[in-house]
Amino acid sequence: MPIDASSTSDVAAGLAANGYLADEGLVTAVFLSLSLGRPLFLEGEAGVGKTELAKTIARWQGTELIRLQCYEGIDAAQAVYDWDYSRQLLHLRAAEATGEARTTNTADLEGQLYDERFLLKRALLRAIDHGTGPAPVLLIDEIDRADDEFEAYLLEVLSDFQVTVPEIGTFKATTPPIVILTSNRTRDVHDALKRRCLYHWVEHPTFDREVSIVHLRVPEASEVLTRQVAGAVEALRGISLYKPPGVAETIDWATALGRLGVTEIDETVIEQTLGTVLKYREDQNRVRDHGIAGIVQHAFERGLLHG
């Protein structure tokens, strides 16, 4: 169990020190996940910082981040373990060439072949069989892309934190890994899996939090520009877009504007850099129809308040 997380404020401070500003709900969920040893299931729009959270926890705890990117058709050979077939075949050929194959019986030969040294450990097994050091962070990313069969398998692994390799035996975690699952909700993940986990729906940040996040991540952007960018993004989220910009886009945008040497946004600048925030042609058109001037105005009002 991690040492420096005895209260929610420790978690908030630890995450902030590593560049992640979480709101109270997320902080509580992380704190409970760490202290109860339960996986944390994060859902939310793309770009609200789900994956980033796992990376931050790993940095903060000073442990390894093991990432399993899910995709359709992922199976045990890619997620848990596989055998190193070419080395197995080489071993067999060597045994044959030295005449060992004729003197050893098949069972012994089989025993040599399915030895741990020929085992290729994939993400799940590595997270469980991590040795004696601090528990790693296991990020199971976009679980909604995997299929039902894989989900069922995952349920088993996350219940007992153990993996059985029929030819060798059972691997059990000395200390369970810190598990973060993310989903973009393209389909419903099975309830049984969610029940193993703590659940948090990640929202877009409030204006003030977003300003602080941009400050933290893009320190070179000026106070006024930071507030204006956050204000413009806030205005964009108010228009009904296919894909409202997430925090990731806000950070990208602020970085891009900083790189261009922009100190204050105006209509031309927004027009030129809209592609860093909106990735659908329809959304860009909608913003132009809605009027970029309105967004600039909102951004200016937001930029002025305390600036």
Partner: protein, 374 residues
């Protein structure tokens, strides 16, 4: 865990989970136990700590957050009733009732432009091509049994998963080859192969439940139920003035229970139509995000839309871009002299791959073929 509730935290956890269950948010025992443990960590004095601990342990779907918030406010502030005061919820039973009862007068006003079919006696016609609008309750029951016998299986597509094959496949199966070579003293004599397996495509039903569809929606919801209950990869939504996902409600094998649950869930039954808007919601929240990708999307609607046809056309185009095939089932198509005059229908047609009837059992048999066809 002791069997008597000792601490305040435990009492609080149990009491709150009761409130949740009364609002039909599932609060299974293991989650309540986790909630108790969570409370012992964060304490029970701060409202926000208790709130977030409860949300992390007891809520599992974003749809439930609103009811959860209400329940929590009531519970924490000891208000009177945990029920939402805002909108009067009308529970409409979908089970066999009321041919004539119609909720929305305005929905009908639109529909009345269409020649209404008034064949009341079915002596000549067999049930198989009888119009759903003229069904008696008994006939509806018979039809339901027939619909359950229709096997929906989305057209197959190659999966990324491989399965072993006896003949020469696409990829060598190293695991089995090494196994087999043990018997041959280490010589990989018999090579084994795998080949991509096939999976059925996901089927998504979007059922229009507006007033003008009322006579047909009653029957079509049964068809959708047969599909959802029969297989795993079927999703169902209703479209009206709002979008409602009814996959969970319809997944019960018992048709009466499934239909009752659906009736309770769908609040805009026989209301107006905003096809374009609700389709947009579907695309944003589910379809384009992944659910409709490579899927067979079946829209069951008469195409009467009160909204802007431009919106409907744009949303149909989005949907068509990601789906494998878009099927539009229009029960009015069979009406003599029917041309897709409804503005919505006309706007949507360019993005429809198959435009079929849906007024009778025969039509549904044909629809099943269209869906299953590769």
């Amino acid at each position: 865990m002791s069997f008597t509730l000792e601490s305040d935290a435990e009492r609080l956890a149990v009491a709150f989970s009761r409130v949740l269950r009364s609002l039909e948010i599932p609060a299974p025992l293991d989650s309540v136990l986790t909630f108790m443990n969570a409370l012992s960590l964060v304490g029970i004095t701060e409202r926000s700590s208790v709130y977030w601990a409860a949300r992390a342990t007891l809520v599992r779907r974003p749809e439930d957050i609103d009811s959860f918030d209400r329940a929590f406010a009531v519970f924490w502030e000891h208000k009177e009733s945990p029920y939402a005061p805002d909108e009067e919820v009308q529970h409409i039973t979908l089970a066999l009732d009321s041919d004539e009862e119609d909720g929305a007068a305005d929905g009908n006003a639109e529909a009345s432009d269409e020649p209404s079919i008034t064949l009341r006696f079915s002596g000549v016609e067999t049930l198989s091509n009888k119009d759903f609008a003229d069904y008696t309750d008994d006939e509806m029951k018979q039809a339901q049994r027939f619909m359950e016998s229709l096997r929906l299986a989305g057209a197959p597509r190659p999966s990324l998963r491989h399965t072993p094959t006896r003949s020469r496949g696409r990829r060598p199966d190293m695991r089995a080859t090494v196994r087999a070579s043990l018997a041959a003293g280490g010589e990989p004599m018999r090579r084994k192969w795998t080949t991509p397996s096939v999976k059925p495509r996901r089927i998504i039903f979007l059922l229009d439940v507006s007033g003008s569809m009322e006579p047909y929606a009653r029957a079509l919801v049964r068809f959708v139920h047969a599909g959802v209950a029969g297989r795993q990869k079927v999703e169902a939504f209703t479209l009206g003035t709002r979008l409602t996902r009814v996959t969970r409600e319809l997944s019960s094998k018992d048709p009466d229970r499934a239909l009752r649950a659906t009736g309770e869930q769908v609040r805009d039954w026989s209301g107006g139509t905003r096809l374009g808007e609700t389709l947009r919601l579907f695309n944003d929240q589910w379809g384009v995000r992944g659910m409709a990708r490579g899927a067979i999307v079946v829209i069951l609607s008469d195409g009467w839309d009160r909204g802007d046809p431009e919106v409907l056309a744009e949303q149909m185009q989005r949907l068509h871009r990601v789906s494998f095939r878009t099927v539009w089932v229009n029960p009015l198509k069979v009406t003599p002299g029917y041309a897709p005059l409804a503005r919505g229908m006309a706007a949507a047609l360019p993005y429809v791959d198959e435009f079929v009837e849906g007024h009778s059992l025969d039509a549904l048999v044909h629809l099943t073929k269209v869906i299953n066809h590769a």
